[in-house]
Amino acid sequence: MPRPTGDAAPGLPQEPSRHGAPACPIVAGAKCSIRRRNALVGGMAHDSDILITGGGLNGPALALALAKGGLTSTVIDALPRQTRTDPGFDGRAYALALASVRLLRGIGIWPAIAPEAQPIERIVITDGRPGEGAGPFALTFDSAEIEEGAMGQMIEDRFLRRAFLDTIDATPAVTVLDSARVESQAVDAGGVTLTLADGRQLRGALIVGCDGRGSGTAQRADIRRHGHGYGQTAVTCAVAHARPHDGAAHEFFMPEGPFAILPLSGNRSSIVWSAGDAHAADLMAMDEDAFLEALRPVFGSHLGAISLASKRFSYPLNITLADSFTADRVALVGDAAHGLHPIAGQGLNAGLRDVAALADVLSTAHRRGEDPGAAPVLDRYARWRRFDSGTLAAATDGLNRLFSNDSPVLRLGRGLGLGAVQRLPALRRAFIREAAGLTGDLPALMR
């Protein structure tokens, strides 16, 4: 099937509903297979096997993994294409665990981003306090201690996003709909129908919500969620520094929250500064010089003189968990299922673990000829992921509560704890494997 090129190119109106009859988004110049509202009948053919809401990172990753398994998909995103590829759109960088890198390799996007990625060779965790520098106890994880190689890779969001969009464009089994807002979803015995704001309808066997913490897909399926905020906000940006970082990542557990320095390609690092909401608002409001002035004592001097290398972005920290990973012909992936505190960079890694597990379950179902949206198939995914995500969310939550506390007893306790782990190589290796995402019941794409 030929691919459309630039169907949502620059100049696309912001309001899709002002369009007349839509040109076929699936096959340029061909009869459109997307049906109008009145065409809905039981047993009608599917536009794609799987309808994916959300075209961020997990959505395209899932689409590519499904294509490997012989399943077709449509990725629907509310934003125009141009906004989604704008480098300023998202200032984040990700610490990709080794298991996530394996997935990206498996779905064919790793070669495109490898030149921009920075391997993490070492993780240094320190219990610190501003003005005092690093505490006396530090914990170092070195990739030389495990045979799998670098513990992870740092990659900037802009490179990852572009690689995903370019790769799904070149994949015939994946259709992309930009600037498309979902209005409703309806489930029947034969499949599921999504109605877009402009009246177009899409038919598939299953909807997968990759649409983030505020997942409309979950809301429309009556999946409730619960969670809480931390009163903390993460301020993140790229910093250029005089000395090379040698692939080291640093995490300081400060009373106000964790502060991380993560190595980027070249003499640059990404910082993630978790602070109280009010302090974070101050940091965002400062001009560059004032911000650098505030940053220097926290950042330390080990990398030499520093300057800002990107805009600053802030993300309020909160945790949300969906009550269920699945509903009738609906599955949730990533933040839509479990919005995690990004303290250890686990949000994307957990999302990609969902992606690999769901792709595994759906590809197996496809090989058997099972209906990929049937309840027994979705149950296999829910059973696989619920335990893993629950423990991860609880552990990350507990870690943050433990370390974001200025009690002298807790400070000493965790100092001793870090020192103890430092002296026990077997335990340290177990932590490294956990951080690299190599533990648990790994999906095929991550082995």
Binding site: G42, G43, M44, A45, H46, K68, G69, G70, L71, T72, A173, D188, A189, G190, G191, S363, R367, R368, G369, E370, D371, A374, A375, P376
Partner: protein
Amino acid sequence: MPADTIDPAEVAKFEAMAAEWWDPAGKFRPLHQMNPCRLDYITSQIAAEFDRDPGTARPFQGLRVLDIGCGGGLLAEPMARLGAQVTGVDASPRNIEVARIHAAQTGLEIDYRHGTAEALAAAGERFDAVLNMEVVEHVADPLAYLTACHDLLRPGGLHVCSTLNRNPKSWLFAIVGAEHIARWLPKGTHDWRRFITPDELFDLLARAGMRPVDRKGMVLDFLRNEWKLSDRDLSVNYVTAALRPEG
């Protein structure tokens, strides 16, 4: 049902029965539980025999597949979804109506017929693959039945047949356990004396003119509540593959 004889009450009744057949937690739960394991065996045998890539969109395109004792279509629908041209036959007219209604709901084209394997064979129908799952232990004359199955295959065609072994363990599991204790199946579903050992089945298949090529056990993993194929344990449920020789 011909369009001019549709009775809405009848349709509603069959729709309710279809929903029951296809409810994974309902009356046919044991079949639903075993189905992924049966499908793993069937699809891998068909893919290997006819050199198809199961990772593609419709790998069984162009193959004619017959499902004997198709019930509500639990095997016929997956085969159709994989691209095969499927005929389902069942001795119960109610099952055929149920299967037709469900296929219409899911948008799959399947040729469902009320009747028997023997009648189809006599009519000269030929298939690339015949699925003969959990039927042979219910027929009065297994050799005559398997001979009809042979006749339904084109030369080189594949016959997949599952049944229950006959030994003390299968009596304990399939009769005492499944029918009397767990109540997975209605009492009297199976007559243990009609169960067939794997060697007896291979012998019957050979006498019916087929060449047995493979056999595997189907074993329930109680911890995961999933059926798994086993190379060694054929003590209760098992499945076989046989070919009709060319020429």
